[in-house]
Symmetry: C2
Subunit: 221 residues, 2 copies
């Protein structure tokens, strides 16, 4: 997943540690989680906000036979547990937790916290829409991934940043091969790009950056 666009470069952890904001930090409780531990699940009724102090957290939706990753939270990111998703530590992780009421007070005094949350929510929403596109166009999504995996096997060239692939076909021609509309293929290629799986180099050449993920999609995961 590509690093999201940052609306602010202010280090919120430094802000909270400064004497000026010590009174807010007092309201936070530090919690540690080992790698793979579940932090919060959608059934928790608590409405908390946390700031990632260190480590990495995966935000995801889980179903009986599949999971969808919505975002990866890193140090400095703010997240509300009210969101209907699971959060799991990807490595040993420390968070600073507070309740929504205290968080609102902090935003009122230090708006960068609000901007950070807008950032994280925007990222979650963007990835949710990508998941919806993939589900709506399920068959085409799978076949497009299959098509690309096969093309990589046939004529992919390993370069420093990934695998360079001369498609030799326009989006319209790929759509014809897959039996889909040009618009659908265009939306799905765009989603693969936004998810950091591939990059467009020129009209008919792409760079595959995450072949493993592409193989997973082609297998229906």
């Amino acid at each position: 997943m590509p690093t999201r666009m940052r609306l602010t470069d202010i280090n919120l952890l430094e802000v909270l540690s400064s004497p000026e904001y010590a009174r807010f930090l007092k309201e936070f409780r530090e919690q540690q989680f080992s790698k793979k531990a579940i932090l919060f699940s959608p059934n928790d009724e608590k409405n908390l906000v946390f700031l990632v102090k260190s480590g990495k957290i995966r935000v995801y939706l889980a179903y009986e036979d599949k999971e969808f990753t919505l975002s990866i939270l890193e140090a400095g990111d703010i997240y509300s547990t009210h969101t209907r998703a699971f959060t799991q530590a990807m490595e040993d992780t420390t968070i600073l937790v507070t309740d929504v009421r205290n968080f609102k007070k902090i935003i009122a005094e230090f708006p960068a916290f609000g901007l950070n949350m807008v950032n994280v929510l925007g990222d979650l929403l963007k990835n949710s829409i990508t998941i919806i596109n993939g589900l709506v166009f399920k068959d085409t999504h799978l076949r497009l991934a299959e098509f690309l995996v096969q093309a990589v096997k046939d004529r992919g060239v390993t370069v420093e940043q990934g695998i360079k692939l001369e498609l030799g076909l326009t989006t319209e021609e790929i759509a014809l091969v897959l039996g889909a509309t040009r618009q659908t293929v265009s939306v799905l290629l765009n989603d693969l790009r936004k998810s950091g799986i591939l990059e467009k180099l020129s009209r008919r050449t792409i760079l595959v950056k995450d072949l493993k993920r592409l193989q997973e999609i082609s297998s229906g995961f």
Copy 2:
């Protein structure tokens, strides 16, 4: 769609109209749209933020054969056009538009604008997750809606707020009827509740508040 929880009751339109914030209002451009007009579509590359001055706007994802409503924006709501969804005026609508840079300046001086955006994004995300659940559990979702529509026909009692329905079955028993797991039915019933389509009155009694929407779901829309 139920009115979303408001993090703040501050009237942002009043704030912008006050002399203190006149310098920010100057940076906004007023735009009017007739009922049914499309404000922005996902292909617009512009990165703008707007505040709804009057009217109502539907935020939705559109596919060849279906649409998903993500949110209804009302006066005072803030929205970023960067979101990958369509926006359409549901009635004659006036918005105040500015670029992201100016909006960030406003948030820095008046954090309530950031909180409002957190609100709107949280609502969009919540509804996106509901749509993902519906797509993942497509068959069960449809059959559950069919089951409820049939039950309303058989033994629904019209009351002031909607149609009162004695299910006579627990979630586990409904799951058995539908050939699904109890957990899946529980998630979907919860989504119907969160979408304002029904309300739980007691363990085996529900209030159907939007029969039309339930019928649409049972028909695959």
